[in-house]
Symmetry: C2
Subunit: 307 residues, 2 copies
């Protein structure tokens, strides 16, 4: 436990991977006093109570946010607006509302209008996740050394922004500020388009009749295994990401297919130089990522040693 | 050391990741007597001598294969034919020639015709790799619990096939037999197409002017980091893979773009059900891969703990 908690009362709305990881991280580092939680599904609330996820699990979102200094919306992006409408009357004056959605413009547009005067809105997005979802999937280390982007809205209170930032840093994250439009484009490139592509490739493998699923599974080399891991992410969350970050995702996918067609053409025409030059260039980005400390250079290719 | 070595003399032609891993694995498990090696580049041969890679590093491929019971071609697929022509006159009668190329039809077509009567040809393909290449990148555990596909040609001597299979098993690999055409299609799905897609996405990220490379690098979430790892693989090797497994790769890419367009359309028209159903289906394949023991379900998302 560190000195004083950053917030006396925190409410987590939605109890999936991110919220449960936040709970364990906040508790480990003494960042919050009482943490309340709410999930729409009764089964999720029951599981949360069983595993001690949240100091108090409430049966309504309004009850959970009552008296909270910080409310974090951890529901799929498409559900944020409705949840905001539901909790708005119960919010404490001076409270801060934040979220963890992967898309920021759509969240700001759907949540912002519901929030009463005197409540601060500080959207955020932790760039951390696993292929697992649900209340039992969280762990305190999820955010360590990962970036958490803080996306203040026009007129966001600087003190409120600084506290949200301090909370993420307290959970081990690196933080940065960015505007919503730029955030959505950056994420379309580094996360949303790659996810759609991985989903697509895994679907194609499943469809191809002349190669059995069992062959795909047995002989999935490193590349494809990474794709399947990405493509196993939560379907609801990702549906909402694509529907709400439509423009930026479609722009990046447009560029992607254009490039892919050029490479396909190089294969068809046997243009080895084009392929070689392209593949050489992409190596440099990888080196940059390793140098930036965002991944390791371990010789085992990130393979996790089995028990 | 186990009882008797499987081969008294093994020659490795080409001294990159696969050959160097084979050397360390064969030595650790006592599978080979003397192992000779040859690499076209003088610098690679010098490095190999320095680090003790191979019992004897030779200055020509012909010298390396002299008297060898097993010769393994570990050069890029596009170079296999020329190497086969070069070593053919020096091969010992009764020797076995194998290879580790990622494409099998093209290798069989380019190597087979050069081999003299009385020399056995047993193509193989270990499904193992890392993003690293070169003589210093190998390690003895690379093949452990990974599949190695043995692709006998018409009239392959069964005893010669069994010995190659035993060698791979001795290095810790699981083995299976497959015909060349089917191998090339399976690999197009599980490896070649995913690699091209990853290369493309990383190239697009680099091209997009409104997002800086530094942003891409800092904020690369899990999905994109996996892509960059794939896209950092050896450019020469992959150029040759695409040029020599052209048909199957283009077929799979055709299916891929068809599916991608359907998903793009679902995004554009806001068809959430289509997206949700697709993403739900792809989760099942991932579960199959975990159940088949080809990857782990570790909650840290395969993240390697840093020193």
């Amino acid at each position: 436990m560190s000195a004083a908690p950053i917030y006396d009362r925190v409410a987590l709305i939605g109890l999936g991977l991110i919220a449960s990881s936040m709970f364990w991280a906040m508790k480990r580092h003494g960042l919050a006093g009482e943490v309340t939680g709410f999930a729409r599904s009764e089964a999720t609330r029951a599981t949360a109570r069983e595993i001690g996820l949240c100091d108090r699990v409430c049966d309504s979102a309004a009850e959970a946010v009552e008296g909270a200094d910080l409310v974090v919306l951890c529901v799929p992006v498409g559900a944020m607006g409705a949840v905001a409408a539901e909790i708005a009357p119960a919010l404490k004056p001076g409270a801060t509302v934040s979220d963890v959605g992967s898309v920021k413009k759509a969240v700001i547009e759907s949540v912002g209008p519901h929030l009463p005067e005197g409540v601060h809105f500080v959207p955020a997005h932790p760039l951390a996740g696993t292929e697992h979802s649900g209340p039992t999937s969280g762990f305190a280390e999820l955010f360590e050394n990962r970036w958490s982007l803080i996306v203040p809205v026009e007129g966001s209170d600087r003190e409120a922004v600084a506290r949200v930032e301090a909370l993420w840093q307290g959970m081990g994250a690196l933080t940065d500020e960015m505007d919503a439009e730029h955030h959505d484009l950056v994420l379309a490139v580094t996360s949303h388009a790659p996810h759609l592509i991985a989903y697509t490739m895994v679907g194609v493998a499943d469809d191809l009749r002349r190669v059995t699923d069992s062959e795909v599974i047995k002989y999935s080399a490193a590349g494809f295994r990474d794709f399947t891991r990405i493509a196993a992410s939560d379907p609801t969350m990702w549906r909402d990401v694509f529907l709400t970050n439509k423009e930026a995702t479609l722009e990046v996918l447009g560029r992607f297919t254009e490039e892919l067609f050029a490479l396909q053409r190089a294969i068809r025409t046997g243009d080895g130089d084009h392929l070689f030059d392209y593949f050489t260039r992409t190596r440099a980005i990888r080196r940059g990522i390793i140098e930036a400390g965002q991944d390791t250079d371990a010789p085992d290719f990130g393979r996790v040693k089995k028990g």
